[in-house]
Amino acid sequence: MTNAIIIAILAAIKIGIVIGVLLLVIAYLIWVERKVMAHMQVRLGPMRVGWHGLLQPIADGLKLITKEDIIPANASKILFVLSPVIAMIPALLSIAVIPFGDTITIMGVSIDMVITDVNIGILFILAVSSVGVYGILLGGWSSNNKYSLLGGLRSSAQMISYELSMGLSLIGVIMMTESLSLVDTVNAQAGLWFVVLQPIAFVVYAISAIAETNRCPFDLPEAETELVSGFHTEYSSMKFALFFMAEYANIITVSAVGVTFFLGGWRGPFLPPVVWFLIKMALCIFFFVWLRSTFPRFRIDQLMQFAWKVLLPVAIVNVLITGLVMSIL
């Protein structure tokens, strides 16, 4: 009985810390992105609020909370209110199974540095993150606006197409670890990271992860030049902020999955595991921003062609090769 209480308390503490850190990181990710992108484009970025604009996320948050919340006429009210929530919740939920450190022991109680080690971890992440598509699609549809609808449709088409190659790229790793649990995946990389053993899968995963999170150069759902701002054209105030936070939470999730599956998770010499995990995450997120500030946007037909004619065959061939090599060895 006391054991169960301790586990429950520990879980609550872990959830609190992870959610708190996650929300703080999301807020400051926006600042980091603006700053990094500005310097890459030979600008300065936010400079006014606090030292080098450090308080900018707080100012933005206050602004968004106090702004008028507009629901357009003839919008489907329930879905319009619900869809930012549907977009946000899965993005936060998938962090639950990511291991961010080794098991540590404090006062005789061993604590796993993961909220819950589900034995179908990666399946859970893929399942939950595809629910996020509904948020975007319903948000686009319920706004009663043609730009929103087009953005939502594009987004769902894109996310469904790239989800396939994303899943297939992970299958190579899953075949080698023979487990769906993320903790086992990290433990299997004690010797050699899977980015060395599965380089093609890593590239496929990186590309489809960027497409999955609707980031540049795959940010067609919110292509400003054609669709105003896509599925969240009609959204304002905190609902818009929720969509925005969901996007950044998704970046964090796909970076975490990428780190766990290909870059050895929290494994690394000298520094504590959590620090290694954060360093790897930061590099992945930097890569996202780097791509955004460098590349122009794809065209919609190029995007679909690339997904179905290049990425998916490459992912399938990778699975085949992995299977062949494993059966030979």
Partner: protein, 140 residues
């Protein structure tokens, strides 16, 4: 196909690693100096005695393509013409500089000031007090 992608990434990374070099200007802190021939806010001139140069001939309000100059002339007790009211509507003015070109007395010049935004709509009309050069204190 891969090479140009890497070239682009290298360029952005190079700029990122050299953060001191920026091309933008932190506007309210740093300000751009206009060139000498820049056409900004108008200025009505005075002669050496501090008298207004304008004789209210009306050429400027005639030549003005956006009809933003409202000029009413009058005569003082010595029979010299002067502008009783001289107002420029800054919302309508297109800063073409025709008034400066046409003025026979060289009484109006377009100067360097370009910060003309106001919080009150009525402030858009600049009257003679605003446009005239302030009187110089006689140092002699």
């Amino acid at each position: 196909m891969i090479k140009p992608l890497i070239q682009g990434l290298t360029l952005t990374l190079k700029h990122f690693l050299n953060p001191s070099k920026v091309v933008t200007m932190q506007y309210p802190d740093e300000k751009w100096t206009p060139y000498p021939r820049f056409r900004g806010l108008h200025e009505l001139q005075r002669d050496e005695d501090g008298k207004e140069k304008c004789v209210a001939c009306g050429l400027c309000s005639t030549v003005c393509p956006s009809e933003c100059i409202n000029l009413v002339g009058a005569e003082d007790k010595n029979g010299n013409r002067y502008a009783e009211t001289y107002e420029i509507d800054m919302f309508r003015c297109i800063f073409c500089g025709y008034c400066e070109e046409v003025c026979p007395e060289e009484a109006i010049f377009l100067r360097q000031d370009y910060e003309l935004a106001t919080e009150n709509v009525n402030d858009r009309i600049h009257n003679k007090e605003k446009l005239l050069v302030p009187l110089k204190k006689k140092s002699k």
